[in-house]
Symmetry: C2
Subunit: 334 residues, 2 copies
């Protein structure tokens, strides 16, 4: 199994990315990694970690794509960047299974959508992050920003893609799929949702459980939520934003009085656990589903452990089983 | 100033609604209220409160619309309900300025949209709740569910409606208006957002500050967010849902160990303040903007104080100044 790790573009890159790669190599004996980015810097990071593995290759790429770059410009103008070189190599080499990047999301989605082949029958790849639910599980959101203008058929494809992903990577046997809507009744929503509902309901290869209101996202009652990229993006960012703002407020209020600080001291372990629970690094990266090859996007702030988890994810996604399942389900509805 | 209070349909109705009405009457010397619902029950509630004001009238309505009723059926079949009788009276009597209801949202929006006249130039009324921001202010979300299929022009109208509302009811001099989008750059989003951006930017009667990502909703940097009803609904319900789920988790975790319970005891006042901060009853109801008359929808769980705040809101909205401002701004862009 060969996977490329884009070592530049994240907040803690390249050191976190190189260290994550080394950690993943130690775990998977049959894994080979190609690291893209400035060769000298990557080499010195590997030296620092005392890693001399012959399962690591370096693909030199002097340039870096940042969040400031417009995706369409980045693809065209930054051909020597660690991300675009990684995408080009992934495209060319049949024996490379996937790519992990912590770089700019927009550029990665655009480059992968344009350059990497799609699974037969899939019109557009869909972006799928996961969030932790309150019962200790996870919930996938598909699509969360790759496709803002979509069709009912694409919602059905997302249900198939996301179900296969959760089954193969998270071991959820029969993922409960819900459609994001403004009410739970079957006739709710705009024209898109009204047209998609019967298609999802009639699809035998997924476990569709009906509409879901956004307030129930974290309830643990759903494994996958399908939605257009616009409202999916709103769903994910609102959840993260609200959690973050609330914790910030709590912290500020605790520091406002000595007695609160004292109380918080007694609850220190609990607050550490809450923080760990909400640390999205623990839940893996977001994946771009529907491509012929595996694309995992780690969070921009990923540390070494988070990068390692993303590589694990790519490893499990690339077994071949997942895409076979997707193709079968697609053939069935066409 | 005459306002109707629909006394049935909320979780704590009719007692909370009747008591809220009595509290509002005490504050506003020039206010007259019409209470709709079962006459005998309302009378006995008034007796219980010792209220014999001649500024209260009762309009008997034996039936009640619930959340189970389909809005279109409710309007047609439940003509004797407290909500539909209130809407009909509001429509007929020129001297009645507005309506406060804690009943079913869908039925109220449908009935008001169909039966109450619109401000000239407004195609569809828009639903606008407010949420508390982390700096102690509020943010309005318009539309949050009345219009799921909309046009760029409707987004502009919502900006004008919401700005006039925040100015007249919350005293915000020049409300900072943002458009909900999947990124802050001007060219982001789907076709709807791309078409609406220049229209919002060029409109001189509003203070448009650009696109907003949903994670910044509670930051205090925006006073009004304009969006389609689908993503607005997702935005509001995700915020409420995430806050609620997190607090539930925190509470559960506190009860899991004695030392945490002890710590929480020291922080009791702080937790009470957080709870009060997040109590949406304190921030008033959601309003349906764009109608010729005032429509305020209080939360289904409203207590007497919350109903009283909704009546205050309706009182301030009905001064006449607000709709005049909206008409001027609309004339300017047409």
């Amino acid at each position: 199994m060969k996977i490329i790790v884009d070592c530049f573009g994240g907040d803690k890159s390249p050191s976190a990315n190189v260290e994550g790669a080394v950690l993943a190599l130690r775990e998977h004996g049959d894994l080979e990694l190609i690291l893209t980015g400035d060769e000298n810097i990557i080499k010195s990071e590997l030296d620092r970690l005392g890693c001399k593995s012959d399962r690591i290759e370096i693909l030199h790429a002097p340039d870096v794509i940042t969040g400031e770059d417009k995706p369409t410009d980045a693809i065209r103008l930054k051909r020597d960047s660690s991300m675009i070189k990684a995408i080009s190599m992934l495209r060319k080499e049949p024996d490379i299974a996937g790519l992990v990047s912590t770089g700019a999301t927009g550029s990665l989605i655009a480059a992968a959508t344009l350059r990497i082949g799609r699974i037969r029958g899939i019109r557009r790849p869909a972006f799928c992050p996961v969030l932790p639910t309150m019962d200790g599980g996870i919930v996938g959101i598909c699509d969360s920003g790759a496709n803002v203008d979509i069709t009912p058929e694409m919602l059905l494809h997302q249900a198939i893609l996301g179900s296969a992903y959760l089954k193969n990577v998270y071991g959820i046997k029969s993922p409960r799929v819900a459609m994001l809507n403004i009410g739970t009744e079957s006739e709710k929503g705009d024209d898109l949702r009204k047209a998609a509902y019967p298609m999802l309901k009639d699809c035998e290869s997924i476990n569709f459980v009906g509409n879901m209101e956004s307030r129930d996202l974290l309830s643990g009652r759903y494994d996958l939520v399908v939605c257009d990229g616009f409202s999916g993006n709103v769903l994910v960012k609102t959840t993260e934003g609200t959690a973050l703002e609330l914790l910030k407020k709590l912290k500020k209020d605790i520091y406002s009085k000595t007695i609160y600080k004292l109380g918080a001291l007694l609850m220190k372990n609990m607050f550490m656990q809450e923080k760990e629970f909400m640390n999205y690094h623990n839940y893996g990266g977001s994946v771009l589903l529907g491509c012929e090859k595996t694309i995992v996007k780690g969070h921009g702030s990923s540390d070494a452990k988070a990068v390692k988890i993303c590589i694990d994810q790519a490893y499990r996604m690339s077994s071949g089983e997942m895409n076979r399942e997707i193709e079968e389900a697609l053939a069935y509805i066409q």
